[in-house]
């Protein structure tokens, strides 16, 4: 409880800092927390906001589905086959640390403007961390579980579905959390350049018209939704890790 209050105090300090920045930088640069909240409230009441919101989150949904399915499959295969895992790991890590935005033109050239480009861009951001986490999770499964599976005469398929996946689940949730954040980032970057719809577009559009409160309201809402989803996954993550410990 005290921790919760401390966290609230910290949040209040952040809002205070924001207000301070507003006083320092002026209305043109930063809208005050009050004005931003008010604009956010207004926008939530409009249908067009929800259209953009749906656009962004459906792109996120598709991208995340691709990233999770693809990443987990790649990670499982590489985790179960030791040599492939050793070969692939540094390649994956380097792909992870690559500024994927440089590949954006390529994605646009392949997919053209619109939904599919956003989805593809989100997916390439999310798939690699999910693959890395999954591979790590499978590789760190206690060897005695595999021995147990052999003693109990499990088939390959039973091994994967009843031992490997359950054993890896806590780590998979951690990977999902990272994958979610990066996929959202990818989708938003996609929207910032190559779209006429979505929250990323709203931000860029607001910049174009120097509508600072709108821009900040959108960013604020995005951040809140993202943090809420991430916090839910974090809660799940900690519970699962706790049970495994």
């Amino acid at each position: 409880m005290r921790q919760f209050i401390d966290s609230l105090i910290f949040a209040a300090v952040l809002v205070g800092l924001w207000q301070g920045l507003h006083w320092f930088a002026g209305d043109i640069a930063i809208a005050s927390p009050g004005v931003t909240a008010e604009r956010a409230w207004q926008m939530v009441g409009t249908a067009s906001f929800w259209a953009h919101f749906r656009e962004t989150f459906s792109a996120l949904g598709y991208a995340l589905a691709i990233a999770v399915l693809g990443g987990m499959t790649i990670g499982l295969l590489l985790g179960l086959h030791r040599l492939s895992g050793e070969v692939a790991e540094p390649i994956l890590v380097s792909l992870y640390s690559l500024p994927k935005i440089t590949l954006y033109p390529l994605i646009l050239l392949i997919f053209g403007l619109g939904m599919s480009a956003k989805v593809a861009f989100g997916a390439i951001h999310g798939i690699i961390p999910i693959a890395i986490f999954t591979m790590g999770a499978v590789k760190t499964i206690a060897p005695v579980y595999f021995k147990t599976a052999r003693v109990l005469q499990l088939t390959r398929r039973q091994l994967v579905t009843t031992v490997v996946i359950p054993a890896a689940i806590p780590e998979l949730v951690s990977g999902l959390r990272v994958g979610f954040s990066l996929t959202l980032l990818g989708v938003l970057i996609g929207e910032m350049f190559a779209s006429q719809r979505g929250l990323g577009y709203l931000v860029m559009n607001a910049i174009g018209t120097l509508d600072v409160p709108t821009m900040m309201a959108v960013v604020l809402m995005l951040a809140l939704v993202a943090v809420a989803i991430s916090a839910t996954l974090l809660y799940l993550d900690r519970r699962l890790h706790h049970r495994a410990a």
């Binding site: 070969v87 692939a88 500024p99 970057i189 350049f193 991430s230």
Partner: protein, 249 residues
């Protein structure tokens, strides 16, 4: 070199050759991608002509500043949070969900505040890298075995020598992870910021080339960034391996 390294090299080379063939035989159209060999020759010419030098220098210096401040700042903040448990518990939920915040959406805001110069770019790189360093610093400090601290006390080491001789080396693996992430994230942050809105730098040049249908320059620069980041990564990978091997892990 061992077998794994050979196979890995073969996989990468094979992939590049495949791309080359697909591009040469028109399976991938020229409007989409040029063959890797052309990217390389064009990059070579670009580097020789010196036209890209200013952009390269600018991007690299931005990355360097963002990286250095993220590492130093992250280490200091991480150490402070580690030593004030109450503050740490209060901040913890914010750190844990930090990377869920879509940073680049903040970038335009920073441009409005700081103007269209290097400051918002470096700041994005810093913001992207610093939290990874904070988290890993705290992890590293958490994992120092208590018995080592006791050994330091038994041997009569003062706080400074304990920090330097005991805490730093035993937290090194996690600090290293933090540093690796910080460099990767600084690169990502800086180049993305340049790409989104800027007047110079590698990210900007790629975006500019893209908008002007100058695929050769665009792919040459993309190749440059990919190669550079890969080399930096490989360097850290090898270094880390060495350190960890000495510790028998």
């Amino acid at each position: 070199m061992n077998r794994v390294v050979w196979i890995r090299t073969a996989v990468v080379v094979g992939f590049i050759l495949l791309l080359e063939l697909l591009c040469r035989y028109g399976v991938i159209g020229r409007m989409t991608m040029i063959p890797p060999s052309e990217m390389a020759t064009h990059l070579w010419r670009l580097l020789q002509s010196g036209r890209a030098n200013a952009d390269i220098a600018e991007t690299l210096s931005n990355v360097a500043v963002a990286f250095a401040s993220a590492v130093v700042g992250g280490f200091v903040i991480g150490s402070i949070l580690h030593s004030v448990p109450r503050l740490r518990r209060a901040v913890d939920p914010f750190l844990a969900t930090y990377y869920a915040i879509p940073f680049f959406a903040f970038y335009p805001l920073l441009v409005v505040i700081f103007g269209l110069n290097a400051a918002p770019i470096i700041l994005i790189g810093f913001l992207f890298g610093v939290v990874a360093m904070i988290i890993n610093t705290m992890n590293g400090l958490d994992r120092i075995p208590r018995v080592l601290i006791k050994t330091a006390r038994v041997n009569g080491l003062g706080p400074v020598r304990t920090a330097w001789l005991i805490k730093l080396p035993s937290a090194a693996p996690q600090l290293f992870t933090g540093i690796k992430l910080a460099i990767a994230y600084s690169f990502i942050g800086v180049i993305a910021a340049e790409f989104i809105m800027s007047t110079s730098g590698l990210g900007y040049s790629i975006a500019f080339a893209f908008n002007n249908f100058d695929n050769r320059t665009m792919y040459a620069l993309m190749l440059f960034i990919i190669t550079l980041v890969t080399i930096v990564n490989a360097f850290f990978h090898v270094w880390e391996r060495r350190i960890m091997a000495r510790r028998g892990r």
